[in-house]
Amino acid sequence: MTLPPATYDCDPGLTDSEVVAFCRNGYLLLEGVVPNEINAKVQDYLGEDTYYEPTGILEQNWFVEEVICNDKAIGAIRCLLGHDFHLPVLMSNHRVQGPYNAVGGWHVDGNYRFSPEVQYLQVFYYPQDTPSEIGPTQVVPGTHLIPHKARFMGHLNAIRGVASTAAPAGSIFITVYQIWHRRGPAKAKALRNMLKYVYWRTKPPQRDWIREDDFDLATADFNTPANQFVEQFRGNAKAAEMFLWLCGEHETFQNVGGQSWPTPAHRLDKPYGLPEALSDS
């Protein structure tokens, strides 16, 4: 048993379009990426360590290799946090016993910062099959772009556009920290473990993920689910700003208004306001 390295690097696993999708939705669900024998081992570990912060699991090499540095997940994290990102140093377990209703509970996690910057990512891992019956986390896609305060959300119950993260064992979902989420309702009498941990950026952002030859920033789809809650096209601008920040081109972001970029439209030519730095991407 050795302590995991503080930082980590690997090949990027997301394309331009996938990074844009993350900016639109605020989360990425990777189903069943952790092998079943590891999931079983994690369940055994959590049966022994029932503390809500079983941080000791981060000292288990098998866990670090197969979960924290999971091939599929880490490639995505590499794209969103840049190279040499910092690995988690704290593990939380949202261990809950069903059944229970969900009649509220929406929140953004503490010490949030609503910003186009992606300085850290909150990641969730299900070591067991987590169908809707045992209360998978619910998120509201796009709400990482909508400032809110947890204490102002106490009255909220059903929200249009909610998405369940119901998924098989070994699933990992990566979120922008400030996305609105809650524990979903659970009808089954079952114990649910869900591990939650955070990775950190250590380097300035740059567009060093997998480039697509046919990616065109002028026509990239920034139509985020956040648009259902806000003024028309405002969500597009927010998602585009986050993408430019991730590209290391935040200073080139502009929303000059009207039908300018990144407002979606069928145009004869490049949209007015398209950032020059990436206009030939």
Binding site: A102, I146, P147, N157, A158, R160, R234
Partner: protein, 122 residues
């Protein structure tokens, strides 16, 4: 005969007939007050714009002093607009606070435009 449960018309008829007693009148008023003293029921509806005819984006229901389970699927919500709830007997007590929507031109706060409605549970 339960004088407290009589209708106004019946009470007036008894008044004209000279048969309405002080006890009967007091009982009728007591019953009227009692019928309006049930537990307050609340809907908190976050709509897509400031019109009570606009689409509901978030639905919360409180009844008998408890938050109620509401389906995740908006199609299953009992009302699709605040006005649909009004047609069903709910009364709007609070219109959206617009100031919260314009804290900054480039920023937004919350799900939408909050209507609070109430009625008295039977």
């Amino acid at each position: 005969m339960d004088e407290g449960r009589q209708s106004v018309d019946e009470l007036v008829a008894r008044l004209h007939a000279g048969t309405l007693t002080e006890q009967g009148l007091r009982a009728a008023f007591a019953e009227a007050v009692k019928s309006n003293s049930g537990c307050q029921e609340l809907l908190i509806l976050e709509a897509s714009d400031s019109s009570p005819a606009s689409t509901i984006n978030a639905f919360s229901h409180f009844k008998d002093g408890e938050p109620q389970v509401v389906a995740d699927d908006p199609e299953q919500w009992p009302y699709q607009t605040p006005l649909a709830a009004v047609k069903d007997g709910w009364r709007i007590t609070t219109f959206p606070e617009m100031a919260l929507q314009i804290v900054a031109e480039e920023e937004w706060h919350g799900v939408g435009f909050r209507f609070v409605l109430e009625r008295t549970s039977p």
